[in-house]
């Protein structure tokens, strides 16, 4: 069983990840590069600051450490990390479907993948719109915690609403769970800093959601198509 999950997850993630990496190259990456041309003047003046700030800002600073050179190396590392993310998504999706005891076929894998996108893409985006580099935003650790909490609450809420029987109390609890992160609210910066034109930022936000939706969709379709092909040979 483990080898079946790993084989299907690796293959589905690899194919989806490569397709999405190619798509990123013509959709989101050009916008990130465009945004960086606006970010740079700020960065130069901010760079010599002693790296003694609190953990949150240090974690996402653009220090002098290694980073892939622009061009092919940058594309390569983006592609590798996108493929790794897609494989991770595939493992998690298969694992959750196996835990839930649902048969894995094309229709169901796609439906669960879309639910995954709602939990990890749409719901967190309602509080933390996908941002270009250089945008003002709150402490990164706080935002990551809110993001993870929202994804988990939405996933559990969807499961409670759709699959945990149809008892009104359960459904009400599920709705509370779905809404709670948005009442708590995501951590935000109090002032706007970005020098990137709003048009580019808006385009990026929409595109990044589309890219993420396609990643989940392709992973789901891939799992649905491959799972039956890796069925164990029945003995006897």
């Amino acid at each position: 069983m483990l080898s079946r999950i790993l084989s299907v997850g690796l293959l589905a993630g690899l194919v989806a990840g490569l397709l999405i990496a190619a798509l990123q190259q013509v959709t989101t990456t050009p916008l990130i590069l465009a945004a960086e041309t606006y970010e740079k003047p700020v960065e130069v003046s901010a760079a010599p600051k002693a790296p003694h700030s609190h953990h949150g800002t240090e974690a996402h600073s653009h220090g002098d450490g290694w980073k892939p050179a622009d061009g092919l190396p940058r594309f390569f590392f983006t592609a590798v990390t996108t493929v790794a993310t897609a494989i991770g998504v595939a493992f998690v999706l298969i694992a959750i479907m196996v835990f839930a005891g649902v048969p894995i076929d094309e229709g169901r894998a796609l439906a669960w993948a879309i639910a995954g996108f709602v939990a990890c893409g749409l719901a967190p985006a309602a509080g933390l719109a996908p941002e270009l580099p250089g945008a003002a935003s709150g402490d990164v650790v706080g935002r990551q915690l809110w993001w993870v909490g929202t994804a988990i609450a939405t996933a559990v809420g969807l499961w409670g609403f759709l699959r945990a029987g149809h008892h009104p109390a359960v459904r009400l609890g599920a709705i509370v769970l779905l809404l709670a992160p948005h009442f708590i609210g995501a951590p935000h910066a109090h002032e706007f800093e970005s020098k990137v034109p709003a048009e580019i930022a808006a385009q990026f936000t929409a595109l990044s959601l589309v890219v993420q939706a396609l990643l989940w969709t392709l992973v789901g379709v891939g799992i649905g198509m491959l799972w039956p092909k890796f069925a164990p040979k029945t003995a006897g």
């Binding site: 996108t82 993310t85 694992a95 990551q144 993870v148």
Partner: protein
């Protein structure tokens, strides 16, 4: 008798499946943590465009 064997086999299959799913879940979450959340600068810089593009919270 035969049905007992079948039930026993099914139970073993199910626990085997759950164990495999648990391992896959940990592996999957580990990969997503590395590409989407981990702090070391080298990982952050390598995954930078992916994090923005897939709407993980970045800087």
């Amino acid at each position: 008798m035969a049905s007992t064997t079948v039930t026993a086999a099914k139970t073993t299959d199910r626990s085997d499946a759950l164990r495999a799913a648990g391992i896959a879940l940990i592996l999957g979450l580990g990969l997503i943590f590395l590409t989407g959340f981990a702090y070391p600068e080298v990982i952050h810089n390598a995954a930078h465009d992916t994090r923005h593009s897939l709407s993980f919270p970045c800087h």
